[in-house]
Every structure is written in structure tokens, then in C-alpha cells.
């Protein structure tokens, strides 16, 4: 009897580990559908939810690698903005799309690289470094644009976010990148080494893993995905604002944590981050659809973030005991 009970508990735990975030997302869907029954379950709105989540998901991918190492990246919003500005600026000068995108991403990667190098060189907590660089990067965006938006961009820019057989391209990008990242984090040496580093920096170093190299790698990845997020943001709105993405790091961090990543490092799955990003997008969409007042929206949003993390935690703790 006891054995059976423990078995089911363990099974439930592994189930919850894998699908906890998904369950919470489903609960949210149901709640919003009840709150706004006429509209929420429509396929069109579900696709809208997904689309609205893509930028959060992409930024959260970037954030994930910083968090995986037990750090954090407060600059993803500014980096996203930066790559958007570069792409917009170059596109206005008639530079071919492909080159615009490459240079935009290189710019984002450069910023990530700077974060990584500063964290290594100064041996500072990533929180401090990215707190500083976030302000600096934002300043650079403002100086570059003189504070004015870049608009009237060539058609191809918006073409990056049109629909293919009813599915928005950004959703496809996020899906493809997600699949690649699942493989990267679970199957490659570099991916596993990042988990090792996040779990125990000292042990990883003792085992001959080059900590500095991997720290830089994580932040380069962080920059890269923030950059992709920035370009999708640019394509979606069709203009580059120097203040775009301001405060989005909060959403990115929340998405990672809701998705099961731990701020202590070494824990989390790409799959979870995707669901976390969708959760954030869904909360935003649901609150809007239900026309919750601006002030109450803050209260509800904050509570939902805490509740969804707490619920996951509580259930998995209950199961352990």
C-alpha cells in the first residue's frame, strides 16, 4: 500500500515538474474564459495571445541563460531596443534586409558580450553590472536616435511579422528558436556545461570547465535573443522607438520564473520558459479583454505572478512530503 502511494506521489511529482506550468496556464485560460466567456476561447484570440507572447518569450529566452547561471540580466529590454534601432536605421539607408538583420543582431550580441566581459573582469554580481549597462544602453539608444522614433521603414520590415497560413511569423520564429534551444540545452556539451556552472560554479571550475568563457557565452546568448526579440518588436509595430522595451526585463524575468527557472541558478527548462512567456501574454490579454481598470490591473498582475510561482512551488512541496 505504502509503496503504491509513494509511487503515485513520485509519478505525480515528475508529472508536475514537467507540466506544472502548463496546468497553471490552463487554469488561467479557464478563469479568463469564465471571466469573459464570449470572447476568450475564440481561436482568433488564442492566436493573438500567442502572438502577444512572442516578444516576451524571446526576451525570456535571453533572460533564461543569465538566470540559468544564477545571475540576472536587467538589460534585455534596452538591448532589444538597440537592435531594433540599428535595423531600422540601416533599413532607412537602403541596406539590404539580410545585412540589416545581421548587423542588428551583432549589435545585440556585442552588448551581451560587454555584459559578460564586465561580469567576468570585475567579478561583480550580474545584477549590478546589468543595472548599470541597462542605463548605459538605454542612453545609447536615446543618443543614437536623438530621442525621436524611426519610422517610414521599408515594407520588408513589417513583412517580418505577417501571417503564414494563419499563423503569425513571429510565433513561428519563437517556435523554431524554442526547438533549437531545447536541443541546445539538453543535448549539447555547452548546454549541459551551462547547467553545471549554474548549479555549482566552483565544482564546474574544479572540473576544468572554463567559467569565464561560459559566462560570456550565456550573456552573448542573452544579447542574441533579446536582439531577436527587439527585431520582432520592430516588425510588429513598424517603427523603432528609443524607449521601446522599457521595463520588459520584468516580464522576461517573470516568464522565466513562472516557467520554473530558479534565481539560484542551474534550474529551468526552455519549454517552461515558453509557457511562462505565454502565461504573461495571456494575463495581459485576459486583463485587457475583461477591461480590468488600469489600477486594479497592477494589483491583479502582481498577484497572478506571485500566485502562479507559489502554486507550482506549493504543489511540488506538498508532493515531496
Amino acid at each position: 500500500m505504502e509503496v503504491v502511494k509513494i509511487m503515485t506521489k513520485e509519478k505525480f511529482q515528475s508529472f508536475w515538474n514537467k507540466f506544472g506550468t502548463l496546468c497553471i496556464l490552463i487554469v488561467l485560460f479557464i478563469a479568463f474564459s469564465i471571466g469573459s466567456p464570449k470572447f476568450f476561447p475564440q481561436p482568433a484570440n488564442l492566436i493573438q495571445c500567442l502572438l502577444q507572447s512572442t516578444v516576451y518569450i524571446l526576451l525570456a529566452f535571453g533572460e533564461f541563460f543569465a538566470i540559468l547561471l544564477g545571475g540576472i540580466d536587467l538589460s534585455v529590454g534596452a538591448v532589444a531596443c538597440f537592435s531594433g534601432i540599428i535595423v531600422a536605421d540601416l533599413s532607412l539607408q537602403g541596406v539590404p534586409p539580410f545585412i540589416c538583420l545581421i548587423i542588428g543582431l551583432l549589435g545585440a550580441v556585442l552588448f551581451g558580450f560587454i555584459n559578460g566581459v564586465l561580469i567576468n573582469a570585475l567579478d561583480l554580481h550580474p545584477f549590478v553590472v546589468t543595472l548599470g549597462t541597462n542605463t548605459i544602453f538605454r542612453g545609447i539608444c536615446l543618443v543614437m536616435t536623438g530621442g525621436n522614433p524611426l519610422f517610414n521603414l521599408p515594407k520588408w520590415v513589417k513583412g517580418l511579422s505577417t501571417y503564414i497560413v494563419g499563423i503569425p511569423k513571429p510565433v513561428i520564429y519563437a517556435a523554431v528558436i524554442g526547438v533549437i534551444l531545447v536541443a541546445f540545452t539538453t543535448k549539447t556539451v555547452a548546454g549541459r556545461n551551462l547547467y553545471a556552472l549554474g548549479g555549482n560554479k566552483q565544482s564546474a571550475w574544479y572540473s576544468g570547465i572554463n567559467i569565464k568563457k561560459y559566462t560570456v557565452l550565456a550573456h552573448i546568448l542573452s544579447g542574441l535573443f533579446a536582439g531577436i526579440g527587439g527585431i520582432v518588436m520592430l516588425a510588429r509595430v513598424g517603427a523603432a522607438e528609443p524607449t521601446a522595451g522599457d521595463g520588459y526585463e520584468t516580464y522576461a524575468i517573470a516568464a522565466c520564473i513562472i516557467g520554473g527557472a530558479s534565481l539560484f541558478g542551474g534550474k529551468g527548462r526552455i519549454w517552461g520558459v515558453v509557457l511562462g512567456g505565454i502565461t504573461i501574454g495571456t494575463i495581459n490579454n485576459g486583463l485587457n479583454i475583461m477591461n480590468v481598470s488600469a489600477f486594479w490591473q497592477k494589483i491583479v498582475m502582481g498577484s497572478l505572478i506571485i500566485a502562479s510561482v507559489a502554486l507550482e512551488k506549493l504543489i511540488s512541496n506538498k508532493v515531496k512530503k
Binding site: A183, T188, G199, A204, Y206, S207, G208, G266, K267, K321
Partner: protein, 505 residues
């Protein structure tokens, strides 16, 4: 022919010269033991080989090739593997991934280099079998016990294909069986022409497996000897500069008929089921030993008594009065002290100097309301710290040194000092001599005995049977979270304890 040579190595830390012009060499196929008191510089020396410490000066040659300033990676490339004194596994990875950490095997899949899991699991399975750890290689390390983690470390060193394997106190958390198994493996390794550097404070082990021994004292080289030429007891004076009295310290205590026990534990069961239905009693002035295999649940039981972990049932009585213990604070306030087993995780504060470390619990006990009313008394706290570092012969630059920077054994001494400083009636020592040198060990036994004679009640959990037999008045044996036997020390033998500790099937 020496495979590895270290010449005139000097290593300075701020305020400490950890190694002073030490030379050392290793041949393939031998076990070269490093011996010395706590803080003599053994770990520092091997950490230089593994690339963690960069020596201030000195040369290293491996296989005739001069190498300087090794990094952990270069050390591994030079086929050196090390089992550290402090566990260095990564909790969130699987056993197999830990074993291959830093050298994950790869294969090509659709043109992309990926981790070769099949190979990794098969390979680790092989080594786990060899060391006798019955765990699935895909189990996460966070889900296994300390001794199992230690065994994973050993397996990790074995699977590295190293020519030189360094073992820094590998048996400090292994059971007797596991230790025996390790020695068997060491035998195989020697046959396969692998050189082993072995560090341990358990002197009998040295005679059993060692070929040569190098003795360090206060960071200085003392002597290198062939082990076959000498008796274990000859080593002690070389190591600590004096003889020690071993075996029986003080007189044992007899229990008078009809005597009432002073400390009684009734029906203790932990919520997580790691110990069940524990009943025992201890008399005033008695030292009660707890034996058992590692993982038997002794520590878990003590944590339950001390209030550190939740119990689902059970009562604790002191002098007939029931104690209300919900957390370690309650326990401490009511006169219970506990030296925990895992010094790194539950023992010390990396941000405190020795004197603050020692003062923490004392000042907490002196104040009320959970410490919210008290003021610190720096002067008397420092005096107490001075007293105990001297008494336990803790090697440090002074009581202002950070506990974090002490050698493993000296950290243990500081933690013991911390609890000795608290004025308690009941002392629980969980593996108190783990990593402690022979000299200090006998010092600690003597302290425990004199405390008992003063009328304190002492519980000692230990996996070293000889010390239990020599120090305790009675011995309780644990098996699978339950008490499986109680022995009086005059009738107890290692065989009888083992019989009670293992399953009969």
C-alpha cells in the same frame, strides 16, 4: 622512476605560509600517503596539483615535462584526477553527468555534435558497479545521500582515465563496507600502474594501503618514509611532535541499578520517515554512542531531537520534564547543544571570523526573545574564543581569521568550540572527529570524558567504530531508521555492532 615531482613548493596566503619549500614525488603504481595535523598543508599541496591553487614559487614536473601554473583544465589534461576533501558534486545534474563533468562524451548526430548519452550512461554504470553504488546513472545527485555523493566523486575520478588520482580524505563519510570496497579498487588501480596520493587522518588505513608516506608539519616538509619499514604509532610523534595516549581516556561510567535517566527520547518519528519509533535514554554523566551504517538515519534522528527538522511524533524529557522543542532555538534554550555533521552546509558562516562564529549561539542563549533583546559582548566573546582555540589547538593566525579560510579539520574544531562555549547540559556530537587529526581527536575524546564527569550528558554519533568503542559507555545501533540494538561498551565489539547494523539476508 618518479612520474610526478614537486620541488620546493611555497604557497602563501594572506598572513599564512601554508607550504614552505615542500618537495614531493610520486611513482606510478604506488600509494603515497600525505600525513600531517590539521592545517599542515596537505589539501593545499594537492590543490596545487589540481590547478586550484597557484603556488607562490616552486616547480612541478609531470612525466619529465615541466608544468607551471596548472589550471584545473590543464591538470585534467595531464591526467590528474582529484577527489576533494569537500564534496564538489553539482546537485542539479545526474550522476553520470557529474562523473563526466568537464569532459562530456560527444557524438555526431545529423552533423551536429551532441552529448553521447548512451555511452555516458553505459560507462558510468560500469564504474558505479565497480564501486558498488546501486544507483541509476540518470538519478539527480541532489536526491542521493552524502556518502553516495562521496562515492560518485570516487567514480568520477576512476572514469577519468587518469594516471594520477588524488584522494583527499575519501573515507571520511564512507561506511566500513564502502571503505573496504574502495581499498579493493585502489589495489586494482595500483596494478594498472596508476599513482595515488592519499590523505587521511585514519592511521590504520595508511598501513593497510600505503607504500610511502610523506609527513608535513606546519607547512614544512618533515620526512618521507617507506611504510613497510614502520609501525603506525611511530608516525604520530613525527606528525604532531609528541606522543598521544590513545584508547581509554578517563574512567567509564557504570549505571547504578534503579538510577533514573536524565534524558529520555520517546517514540520519535520523523515526518519524512527517515527515522521511526526511536526510544532511548541517557544517564547523567554518560557518553552514549550511536553506531550504524552511513544512511541509517542517526543524523536524521538527532536533527529531529534538536528541532532542526519536523517530527510527526515523539517526546523528549529532561530530568522528568517534557521539553517543548519546535526548533533549534528551543532546544538550545533548554540546554541541548548539537555539533552537526556537515560543517560546510550547516556548520559555519563564510562571512564570520572565528570569534564571531564561536559567539553566535552563546550570545543567542544569553539573550531572550530569540535574540532580540541582547547586546554583543565583544570583549568576553573574544576571550572565550581565545580559550577554546587554544584548548582545541586550532591552527589559525588568530581569532580574527575567517573560519572560511581554515583547513577542514580546523573548521571542525571551531564548530565544536562554538558549542562547547554554550553552557549546555546535553551535547549531541554528530561525527565530531570527521577530518580531525589524531592529536586533536584524543583531545576531543578527553574533553568529552571530562564533560561527562562534570555531569553533562553526551550523545556521540560516529561511523568510526574504534572511537565509539573506546569513548562510549553504551552504544545504540541503528538500522534503516530504527534502533536495532543496544550494547554496553564492555560487551561490545566491532563484530557485534556490525551484526546489528546490517541486514541479515
Amino acid at each position: 622512476m618518479e612520474y610526478l615531482k614537486m620541488n620546493n613548493i611555497t604557497m602563501k596566503f594572506p598572513g599564512v605560509v601554508a607550504l614552505d619549500n615542500v618537495s614531493f614525488d610520486l611513482k606510478l603504481g604506488e600509494v603515497h600517503v600525505l600525513l600531517g595535523e590539521n592545517g599542515a598543508g596537505k589539501s593545499t599541496l594537492v590543490k596545487i596539483l589540481s590547478g586550484i591553487n597557484t603556488p607562490t614559487s616552486g616547480e612541478i614536473t609531470i612525466n619529465g615535462k615541466a608544468v607551471s601554473n596548472l589550471t584545473p583544465k590543464e591538470s585534467a589534461d595531464n591526467k590528474i584526477a582529484i577527489i576533494y576533501q569537500e564534496l564538489s558534486v553539482v546537485d542539479n545534474l545526474s550522476i553520470a553527468e557529474n562523473m563526466f563533468l568537464g569532459k562530456l562524451p560527444t557524438k555526431k548526430k545529423m552533423g551536429i555534435t551532441v552529448v553521447d548519452r548512451e555511452f555516458m550512461y553505459a560507462e558510468s554504470e560500469k564504474y558505479l558497479k565497480e564501486i558498488g553504488l546501486k544507483k541509476n546513472p540518470s538519478t539527480l545527485v541532489q536526491d542521493i545521500s552524502i556518502s553516495e555523493k562521496q562515492q560518485v566523486e570516487i567514480a568520477k575520478a576512476l572514469c577519468s582515465n587518469a594516471k594520477v588520482i588524488i584522494m583527499d580524505e575519501p573515507t571520511s563519510s564512507l561506511s566500513i563496507d564502502e571503505t573496504k570496497n574502495l581499498f579493493k579498487i585502489i589495489g586494482h588501480l595500483k596494478k594498472n600502474n596508476i599513482g595515488i596520493i592519499y590523505i587521511s587522518h585514519k592511521l590504520p588505513e595508511i598501513k593497510e594501503i600505503g607504500d610511502r608516506v610523506t609527513i608535513l608539519k606546519d607547512g614544512k616538509y618533515v620526512k618521507t618514509l617507506n611504510i613497510s619499514d614502520l609501525e603506525v604509532k611511530d608516525l604520530v610523534p613525527l606528525m604532531i611532535g609528541r606522543e598521544i595516549k590513545d584508547k581509554f581516556v578517563g574512567t567509564k561510567r557504570e549505571i547504578v541499578p534503579d538510577e533514573q535517566p536524565t534524558f529520555v527520547v520517546k517514540n520519535l518519528t520523523r515526518k519524512d520517515g527517515t527515522c521511526k519509533n526511536i526510544n532511548f535514554e541517557v544517564y547523567k554523566g554518560e557518553i552514549l554512542g550511536f553506531a550504524g551504517l552511513i544512511g541509517a538515519g542517526r543524523s536524521e534522528c538527532m536533527e529531529g531531537i534538536f528541532g532542526a527538522k519536523t517530527i510527526s511524533s515523539g517526546e523528549v524529557y529532561y530530568n522528568g520534564k517534557k521539553l517543548e522543542i519546535h526548533n533549534p532555538y528551543d532546544a538550545m534554550k533548554q540546554g541541548i547543544a548539537m555539533v552537526t555533521e556537515n560543517r560546510r552546509e550547516t556548520g559555519f558562516f563564510p562571512n564570520f571570523p572565528i570569534w564571531k562564529e564561536i559567539a553566535v549561539s552563546t550570545s543567542l542563549k544569553k539573550s531572550t526573545l530569540g535574540g532580540f533583546t541582547g547586546m554583543v559582548q565583544t570583549k568576553s566573546e573574544k576571550n572565550i574564543a581565545e580559550k577554546f582555540t587554544k584548548k582545541l589547538n586550532t591552527k589559525c593566525t588568530g581569532i580574527n581569521q575567517m573560519t572560511y579560510n581554515l583547513s577542514g579539520g580546523n573548521q571542525q574544531k571551531v564548530i565544536i568550540s562554538k558549542w562547547l562555549a554554550v553552557n549546555s547540559n546535553i551535547f549531541i556530537f554528530d561525527e565530531p572527529t570527521k577530518g580531525i587529526d589524531v592529536g586533536a581527536k584524543s583531545e576531543i575524546y578527553a574533553i568529552m570524558r571530562s564533560m561527562a564527569e562534570e555531569g553533562k550528558t553526551i550523545i556521540m554519533v560516529s561511523s568510526e567504530m574504534p572511537e565509539l568503542l573506546s569513548t562510549c559507555d553504551r552504544i545504540i545501533v541503528f538500522r534503516d531508521g530504527e534502533i536495532s540494538g543496544i550494547l554496553n561498551s564492555d560487551e561490545a565489539t566491532e563484530e557485534k555492532i556490525m551484526l546489528a547494523a546490517v541486514h541479515l539476508n
